[in-house]
Amino acid sequence: MNLHKKLLCILALLPGLALAADEGYPLDKAPDRSHNMAALQNGAKLFVNYCLNCHNASAMRYNRLRDLGLNEDQIKNNLLFTGDKVGEMMITAMPPKDAKAWFGTVPPDLSVIARAKSSEAGSGGDYLYTYLRTFYKDDTRPTGWNNAILKNAAMPHVLWQLQGIQTAKMADEIGEDGKTVSKLVGFEQVTPGTMNKLEFDTNVADLVGYMEWMAEPTAQFRKRLGVWVLLFLSGFAILAWRLNASFWKEVK
């Protein structure tokens, strides 16, 4: 078994060899909201109020929000801004042609964006949670905003009234090639928003929690069902194991 150990050692070293430092602005961990219905409902409210003005969630039906503990009347009266019926998909009122003219690109569909933005750096939720909180004032951009993790984002800071206005603190750093690069190290609040930092972070976490839920509405049910499936299969495996043993007892 010595050989196995040697192999394991070499295999264990491999990732270190291949992982090169690719340093961007670090992602903050998005708080888990998956079991907090009130937070997810708040997230849904923020989503239809702020995101749906420009973005679609074309795979998402309004009445699927019933899964978050809302009834059809609540959905219809409070959340249905872009359609007439709760059976409709979440489609923005903004025509794609105008969007293209105003932002230079059609805003992406957000149905599964929380899954698409996952990477080695963090989950898609982490990405969105960091992205939505790191807009800063940048007068060189057409929108007047820039972002720490998506440089030169076409999207303006939609939540600016809530967060207020912040500017970037830059610091010079000497890169690997010896050249000096300007790096974003933090933010400075210039104008306060209607929310303090804690409130804002909590609300963004709710919004991101909602987007994570929306990316796969069956995720929680899938995991709950998975427990039962695994229990059943484990029982089946034990029976199959004993059945096998009883047959093979006679093979000499």
Partner: protein, 470 residues
């Protein structure tokens, strides 16, 4: 040909027996069952490694059944495909489960088939008289790769789109006909609706038909010559009084219950992935594939799904600089053959001429490295087919080979895994160098096998299989 004779049953015989007799008179149902499984005698010393054949069969059925249900809701249309997959995930009752089973099944299929092939390598399952079984198996592997490649375009995500674009463009590297060939495959100047429709046709009908035929051939050939075993002993050389090999047992019920247990363990692992990690950290479902395919936005890093990355690494390792090393390698191999091989002078001369042409072709001014990358990419797969004729070891099983052979195999598997791992990452200078070393080792393993596999002190092979009663 004897005249048709209806089997007579006593009047009080059970209806089922009569029905079976009626069928058996017209179709060899009982005979087929007995030949292929019921009375198929298999060596009794199968170990863990021998479960993957049955599991591959199970996953094949799983893929076909889930695939049929997916086809009922999927739309092979560039504007609708991405949305229809999300429709399956959300609106179709249990659609999410069927889709996850299919996507996880694709990866599971490759894991199982790679382990199945590893078994073949370890115990020399491809050796005479099982060369054809190996060749059928190799053809199944090719079909599986095609099936996975065509199927991967269907969700029409960014990785689907650009993965297909990159692979189809590889054909463009072939001199003269390349650009037209890739145009013909795509049916358009870029991957488009035309490409999606034909890939759909290949994925759901053309390749599965061929695949099923090959699986049947693989099994018929296996049950004709009989299974090998971890000791590499021909059990048919030692028959008992009943005419069956003394070291064999009927597949039914012994391997039926054995496989049932294997299947249950597999299903536990498979379900754990389906229900708790269907994306498998971006390896089974790539994150980028949750963005719809966009011909105007090229992703920064395009990599094939994990099961192709080892071969893809070989392609990427073939850089212009590396060509000089390869040219030297080809020349050295020819010299080696002239000095060491017992082949006739004519064959040696033919090999030398082919090698000379190849070396000329490898000069930077003749054919560029991209073309050779494609050649080595294809070669790294095709070379597997030649194993039965490359292996000159005196014994079949690794158990009785010289101990140092185990290190050669270990290095081979390690270089294959390293190639696979590096293929998932964006290239850097160090990674390219490592993959070049692994590529050289990968090819040397096969090309030098006729010599190294015969070298060393072999251990005595026992007359009977090693079996410990349960």
């Amino acid at each position: 040909m004897a005249a048709f004779k209806e089997t007579k049953f006593p009047a009080n015989a059970p209806a089922a027996e009569k029905a079976l007799g009626w069928v058996d008179d017209r179709f060899p149902l009982t005979k087929l069952w007995n030949d292929q499984w019921g009375k198929y005698y298999a060596p009794k010393n199968f170990n863990f490694w021998y479960i993957f054949g049955s599991l591959a069969m199970l996953v094949l059925v799983l893929q076909i059944v889930t695939g049929i249900f997916l086809t009922m809701h999927y739309k092979p249309d560039a504007t609708l495909a991405f949305g229809s997959v999300e429709y399956i995930m959300r609106e179709v009752p249990w659609g999410w489960l069927v889709r996850y089973m299919h996507s996880t099944g694709a990866s599971a299929f490759f894991i199982i088939v790679y382990l199945h092939m590893t078994r073949g390598l370890l115990y020399g399952s491809y050796r005479k008289p099982r060369e054809l079984i190996w060749l059928f198996g190799f053809a199944i592997f090719l079909c599986l790769m095609a099936e996975a490649f065509f199927g991967y375009l269907l969700p029409w995500g960014q990785m689907s789109y650009w993965g297909a674009q990159v692979i189809v463009n590889l054909f463009g590297a072939i001199p003269f006909i390349g650009p037209d060939l890739s145009l013909w495959i795509r049916g358009d100047y870029v991957v488009s609706d035309a490409t999606l429709n034909r890939f759909f046709a290949f994925h759901v009908i053309a390749i599965p038909l061929v695949l099923l035929g090959l699986v049947a051939a693989h099994l018929i050939a296996l049950h004709e010559v009989g299974s090998s075993n971890p000791d590499g002993i021909e059990v048919k050389e030692n028959l008992g009084a009943d005419g069956h090999p003394v070291d064999s047992i009927p597949s039914h019920p012994y391997y039926t219950v054995h496989d049932l247990f294997g299947v249950s363990v597999f299903l536990v692992i498979f379900s754990a992935v389906v229900f708790f990690a269907p994306e498998m950290g971006g390896f089974f479902l790539e994150y980028n594939n949750f963005l719809p395919g966009d011909s105007l936005k090229t992703p920064l890093h395009i990599a094939p799904t994990w099961y192709f990355t080892a071969f893809y690494s070989v392609l990427r390792a073939t850089t212009a600089d590396f060509m000089w090393v390869l040219m030297f390698g080809v020349a050295a191999y020819v010299v080696f053959i002239w000095l060491k091989s017992r082949l006739s002078t004519t064959i040696k001369a033919i090999i030398a001429v082919i090698a000379l042409l190849a070396i000329i072709g490898m000069l930077p001014s003749v054919l560029d490295a991209k073309f050779w990358g494609v050649v080595f990419f294809g070669g790294s797969v095709v070379i597997l087919a030649f194993l039965p004729w490359l292996d000159h070891s005196k014994v079949k099983s690794i158990r009785y080979r010289p101990s140092w052979h185990k290190y050669v195999y270990a290095l081979f598997f390690l270089s294959f895994l390293t190639l696979g791992y590096l293929g998932t990452l964006p290239p850097t200078e160090t990674r390219t160098l490592v993959s070049q070393v692994c590529t050289l080792f990968y090819f040397s393993f096969f090309l030098l096998m006729p010599w190294w596999s015969a070298m060393g002190t072999f251990k005595p092979v026992p007359a009977r299989v090693v079996f410990h009663a349960h």
